[in-house]
Subunit: 332 residues, 2 copies
DNA sequence: CGCTCGTGTTGAAACGATTCAATTTCGATG
DNA sequence: CATCGAAATTGAATCGTTTCAACACGAGCG
């Protein structure tokens, strides 16, 4: 169907070895021959078959990135950072969206293992460290993104979520709010769990202060709206006066519901803090106070570490932790 | 480094052909042998080498999807639809973000050609139809997403952007606004250009009505904010009283700037209509009136058409055009 | 003139799977 | 018990590239 290196060799009147050298080690070939071969290549519309190349060469130039919610701008920002860094090192990044499904996550890991990608950047959803260990033994390194390694075996680039949770709750407390609510879930997701722990720590530093947990099934706008409606319907005395959402999507959902129930004012009746500081936080109904993470930088750093490990598999794991930062706007 | 099919055959005491059959045509193999081979596979941790498989089999099960702005929720919604549909047909979707760069777009096309992906779902940024034609001749079909084919050669799944622009502008006009502004760009992007054309058509149906174009360099929140600041700073008599943004990102940027300049009220002084109806439109400072496109459905449909063409390359191109829909909220 | 060296070039082996014609096995049948 | 056919299994050929030992050819040197 399509031209192979053999056809090119024939057309140019040289051997297949020479054609291969033109593409991979041009310095070994005389200028005349290079020109001749290149003419043949474009005449035939030859395109290297990556499968054959990889089979023989044993390594690919593709890096896979897996996130569990590609619709969250926070992750697309990270991906953007990784792509830019990869372009510098000559790698290509392909993205897989695991859509908060462990099954799909494992499915993609299988796919990438079969494809022998050069490395994996992953923001894990399910319990995958065992699987990643197997991949590592197999020769495919991974770097965890936005999450630390339980096993200490993997490099990771993350943000101190406990600190972030602490900052968020402290801010609400410093505004005089004493009946707090945490909205997010599932709590098993470390990012969510850690932020809650940080918030609880902050709460324990104050007397007569409560922190109630509203667990969601996912960190989405929709789930935020659901909880927001429930909170709007609560008795005033039961209702928290300060809310901390596990991420901005949830916060925006809450905001929608609270504003729609027009007997409530944000921040007067309920102060609200989000997390991630996505672009849309600025333009929310009530511009959102949020915890900013350096998303692009996370992506770049993760890719650089992965590239190092791909080149030298004996590298010890690195652990980079960035500090989050409070961005104050109107909502709290 | 890792076990091959030969090792498995040795360990199980059968031939390589049998191992291959266990994986691809289990019905041809006796139950005992299947069990024996599977035991060997897991004992050795064997993983099929996709490069070798693809080289011999000549076809892959991977479909590539390329979008020029993965940070736009509209595109992630489309991707989501495509992924769900692909899972049904046994394909995997990998995503590439061309980041509004023609260079990167062509680079990914090269990569996917070398990888011999089974097909390409693309929302093109630059002029790529010639390149896609070459790919098609090469055996890789593509389906255009959110854009029709100039050459009529490719299937496409899109939304009638001229109609959408018409609906948006008509809505503003029906509210009595007569000095309109269109914000978006570059105008060469068909989605943007068509929406403008539709708006101009609507404007031409009214007397004494003006439509001014504010061109942006990209359809982002940032660019929207930039134009919004400029508009806020205009003399009241020059200022448009109805704005139509090429997409919701731009609209949200505009909104931010207009609200920040607190002498202006949306919609009283300026009515605003966006496009795409992304999730965040509902939770904007002023909930956004927008033009809804059936994003997930677009993704599903595109993937199904692509799958058909991948199986039968002689299929004539199909052209599916969905109709957009006005969603009225507070901003206009 | 014979020898060495360096530069280009060659062609066959190897990568790891799939495929398919050929062969073996085995149960059923006359 | 011999024979037939279906079912199971084998193993060599194949895909398109890269790699590498071997070779060809001059140029330079003693």
């Amino acid at each position: 169907m399509s031209a192979s290196i053999k056809d090119v060799a024939l057309h140019a009147g040289v051997s297949v070895g020479t054609v291969s050298n033109v593409m991979n080690h041009p310095s070994r070939v005389s200028n005349d021959t290079v020109a001749k071969v290149q003419r043949a290549i474009s005449a035939l519309g030859f395109v290297r078959n990556d499968a054959a190349r990889q089979l023989r060469a044993g390594e690919s130039k593709t890096i896979a990135m897996m996130v569990f919610d590609a619709a969250n701008p926070f992750f697309t920002d990270i991906a953007r950072g990784a792509e830019d860094a990869a372009a510098k090192d000559g790698f290509s990044v392909i993205l897989a969206n695991t859509s908060e499904s462990s099954t799909r996550e494992l499915g993609y890991l299988d796919l990438f293992e079969e494809q022998r990608v050069r490395g994996i950047l992953i923001s894990p959803y399910g319990e995958v460290e065992d699987r990643l260990q197997a991949l590592k033994k197999f020769g495919i390194p991974s770097v965890l993104v936005d999450r630390v390694s339980n096993s200490q075996v993997f490099s990771s680039v993350s943000v101190d979520d406990v600190a972030g949770g602490h900052i968020a709750a402290s801010h609400l407390l410093s505004l005089g709010r004493r009946t707090l609510g945490f909205v997010g879930g599932p709590l098993e997701i470390p990012q969510v769990g850690d932020r809650l722990v940080g918030a609880q720590q902050a709460a324990s530093e104050y007397q007569e202060c409560s922190l109630r947990v509203f667990e969601t099934t996912a960190t989405t706008v929709l789930e935020g709206r659901r909880i927001g409606e429930a909170i709007a319907a609560m008795e005033p005395k039961e209702r928290p006066n300060g809310l901390f959402a596990a991420n901005d999507l949830v916060a925006l959902g809450l905001l929608q519901a609270l504003v729609a129930a027009n007997h409530l004012n944000v921040p007067r009746d309920i102060a609200l803090v989000g997390y991630d500081d996505i672009d849309f936080a600025t333009s929310a109904i009530v511009p959102l106070t949020s915890i900013r993470q350096p998303s692009q930088l996370i992506g770049e750093t993760a890719l650089e570490i992965l590239a190092e490990e791909a080149l030298d598999p004996t590298q010890p794991p690195q652990k980079v932790v960035f500090q989050p930062e409070l961005v104050i706007r109107a909502s709290a």
